[in-house]
Structures are given as structure tokens and as C-alpha cells.
């Protein structure tokens, strides 16, 4: 079996498993519902990260999505399409929260630290300065590029799986990820350019002049 066929089979197996879990959850199987959420919550968090506003807390939005999963799963039309449904729920939650203009204290949650937070707090939340800078650069990307990049980063999801989630062709997903990386690289080079210029302009330190004597 070739690489592509093996990946397709793997995706189908996962879809079938998810469809089975979703169907069981729709019938009221609590353990299936919990397993379904555990299976998907990390990439759902990545979607929320891609679409939420800066002031919103990731764990609060996750709670809302989890609540919607509990209360609305029985309305899911196709159990095999639970990923796309969860993505829609997550995006709606992020947008609704942004529209509501709710203000929350920055220190309440982990996983999302505003730029104004002290460096010590960012480290406490598991994000060093470099990680924070990279996430900030990702936040500058247009959403169509940001989301597939985050989905690839969080769980190494294949282009086909991301395409199924976002309803995009696999080739489009791969192109957007590549472009997103190029934009981040260009932005990093812009940010690092002043430092490089300063280093290039600094006078050379004392060193060996001429050859060895003796």
C-alpha cells in the first residue's frame, strides 16, 4: 500500500471511529461523549486560538464549546462529520464572545497571556518569551492562513484531515501552511534586521593581528 493510500485509510479509520463515538454520544452514552471530547479538545483549542479575540480566555471558550457539545450533539446530522461541526461551534463561540465585548482579568487562566502581562507570568503559564513572540506573529496572519498552521502545529494533522475540518482541498491547506510559514519567517527577519545591523556595525574586538611571532 502506497503512502497516500495508507494515509487515506488511516483518515477513514479515524473518521469511522469518530463517527462511532459521535453516534454513541448522540444516543446518550456519557463515556462516549467524554471520549469524544478528549479526542478533539486540543485541536478545538487551536481553532479557538485562531479565531478568538486577544482579550478572551481560551479555557472559558473551551468550556462553552464543551457545553454545546453536551447540549447539542443530538442535533448533529452526520456523526461522521463531527470534526467540521465542532469547528463551527468553536468559531461561533469565539465570534460571539468577541461581539459581547466581555472583559476578563488576564490572570485567571492559562494558555492565553496578553502582551501586557509580565514576563514572569508568561513563563508561569508555560510560554517563554520566544513562544510568546511566535504566537504573536501567528496572530498577525490572516485567519485563513493562521488556522491551518495552528491545526498542523497542535497535533500534526495531515492536510487531508485539516481539509476535512475546514472543508478545503488538501492542496489548498498545504499551500496556506507554506505561505503562513513564509510570512512568519519574513516577519522574523524584519524584527531581527535592526539587531543584525547593529552587530554588523559594531567595531571588531581585539583579536590576533598579523601572524604568530616568535
Amino acid at each position: 500500500m502506497g503512502d497516500a493510500e495508507a494515509r487515506l485509510t488511516a483518515v477513514r479509520d479515524v473518521a469511522a471511529a469518530n463517527g462511532t463515538l459521535a453516534a454513541a454520544a448522540m444516543r446518550g452514552d456519557r463515556s462516549a461523549l467524554e471520549a469524544l471530547w478528549r479526542e478533539h479538545r486540543r485541536w478545538v483549542a487551536a481553532v479557538l486560538l485562531a479565531h478568538k479575540s486577544a482579550g478572551d480566555q481560551l479555557d472559558d471558550l473551551l468550556q462553552e464549546v464543551a457545553m454545546t457539545l453536551v447540549t447539542r450533539i443530538d442535533g448533529l446530522r452526520d456523526p461522521g462529520n463531527v470534526r467540521a461541526w465542532l469547528r463551527t461551534v468553536a468559531i461561533n463561540a469565539a465570534r460571539a464572545s468577541a461581539r459581547s465585548g466581555r472583559v476578563r482579568p488576564w490572570h485567571r487562566t492559562t494558555g492565553d497571556v496578553p502582551a501586557a502581562a509580565p514576563a514572569a507570568a508568561r513563563r508561569e503559564h508555560g510560554l517563554d518569551d520566544e513562544a510568546h513572540r511566535l504566537l504573536g506573529l501567528a496572530a498577525e496572519l490572516p485567519a485563513p492562513y493562521r488556522e491551518p498552521l495552528l491545526l498542523r502545529a497542535v497535533q500534526g494533522l495531515s492536510g487531508r484531515t485539516i481539509g476535512a475540518i475546514m472543508d478545503l482541498p488538501e492542496a489548498t491547506v498545504e499551500t496556506r501552511i507554506a505561505r503562513a510559514r513564509r510570512m512568519i519567517r519574513q516577519r522574523l527577519e524584519e524584527l531581527e534586521a535592526p539587531r543584525r545591523r547593529d552587530e554588523a556595525a559594531a567595531p571588531a574586538g581585539p583579536g590576533f593581528e598579523g601572524g604568530l611571532t616568535g
Partner: protein
């Protein structure tokens, strides 16, 4: 660097590239040695970025599916029906003034009920035998309107709970029906104060001054 090469590099650093794609990349690198530098930089960027994203979403590990009995976090108030079944949660967001008005009305009515309803009347049962609950409710609404007690029933019914029907076909619904009734009271009190022992103290509502003659 053209976009096709960028996509190949991106798939290569993600471990998604197939053998043919690696061959294509190697062939392109034969004429563009800078391609390997781009690959290395992309790999470095990806490593740091993936680490950052995974750290940021680690919070998801602490978010579980809410239990049926536990109230949700966040600012909304929800009504839940008990039992280990799926719930359709109905938000009952009430502003502070509305909640206070409900409490005030309950307190006032409970204190003034004997004056409102008068002495207890004997229950008339002769015309009720054989009538269904729906018929009785309809009769109550009609009679209530005549007596100026009932304003009407709100068309919106609040769904509280759903579950599969006992017969196995269809669904069983639990819902609230809302009937608007009118009451005329001599005094109105608000529950806004507490005495030194912390007991709720009603405060009499002073209505607007009468218009000048």
C-alpha cells in the same frame, strides 16, 4: 523560491512529504543550494512554533465535558433538570432588577394573599368531572380573563428537558408554560435592605408623586 518548492519544504519539515516529493526537492536543490538553508530555517521555525502552540493549548487538558449536576463556569445562569440524561440547557439570565422584582412580588403576594383572595371558596367539582387537563386550563384562562385576573398565556414555551419517549418512538419534552396574571396590591415592597441581624427587610416602594392639579 517558487511556491511549489515552499510547499515541498513545508511538507518535508512536517514529515508529510512522500518519497516522490523528497526526490523533487533534492532535484531542485541540485540547482539551488540555498534550498537546504531554507529547509533548515523552516525546520527551526516549525520546532519553536509547534512548541508554543502546544503549550498554549495545554489548557484544554483541564477542560472536561461538564457534568450534568455541576453548574458551568462563566457568566451565564442556566437551569438544569436533574438526572443522568442529555439536557437542553435553557439560559435564565436575569438582570438584578428583574430578580429583585420577582422576589418583591413573591413576598408581597405571600403576605397579602388572604386579602387578595378573600375567604376560601368551596371547590366546585360538579362540572369538572370528565374534563381533560387542557380543557380545564382553557376554562381557567377564559374565566381568568373575565375576572381580570389573567392577562394571557405567553406564546413562548421554555424547553427544560428532552429524552427519548418511553415507548421508544419520538421524544418526551418537559417545558414551562408561562401565564401572565395581574394582581392589584395596596402596597408594594422591595427586598433591598437587611437589618443588623442580616434578615431581609422589605422597603416600601414610594411611587411617583401625583401630577399637579
Amino acid at each position: 523560491m517558487n511556491e511549489r518548492i515552499e510547499v515541498l519544504i513545508s511538507r518535508a519539515v512536517d514529515g508529510q512529504a512522500a518519497t516522490a516529493e523528497w526526490d523533487e526537492l533534492a532535484a531542485a536543490a541540485a540547482t539551488d543550494p540555498d534550498l537546504w538553508r531554507s529547509l533548515a530555517l523552516t525546520l527551526r521555525d516549525r520546532s519553536g512554533f509547534d512548541r508554543a502552540v502546544r503549550a498554549a493549548v495545554d489548557v484544554a487538558e483541564a477542560v472536561d465535558v461538564p457534568a450534568a449536576e455541576a453548574p458551568p463556569r462563566g457568566g451565564a445562569d442556566f437551569a438544569r433538570a436533574p438526572g443522568p440524561r442529555h439536557r437542553l440547557i435553557v439560559p435564565l439570565r436575569t438582570a438584578g432588577w428583574a430578580a429583585a422584582a420577582l422576589v418583591a412580588l413573591a413576598w408581597t403576594v405571600s403576605h397579602l394573599a388572604p386579602r387578595l383572595s378573600g375567604p376560601p371558596r368551596p371547590v366546585i367539582t360538579s362540572n369538572l368531572s370528565g374534563a381533560s387537563a387542557a380543557e380545564l386550563l382553557s376554562a381557567y384562562l377564559d374565566r381568568g380573563r373575565q375576572e381580570k385576573l389573567v392577562v394571557g398565556e405567553l406564546p413562548e414555551r421554555i424547553l427544560v428537558d428532552t429524552q427519548s419517549a418511553p415507548s421508544g418512538q419520538g421524544y418526551e419534552l418537559l417545558y414551562l408554560r408561562q401565564i401572565l396574571e395581574r394582581a392589584v396590591v395596596p402596597d408594594l415592597y422591595g427586598v433591598t435592605g437587611r437589618d443588623e441581624l442580616g434578615r431581609v427587610m422589605p422597603v416600601r416602594f414610594e411611587g411617583p408623586a401625583s401630577p399637579p392639579m
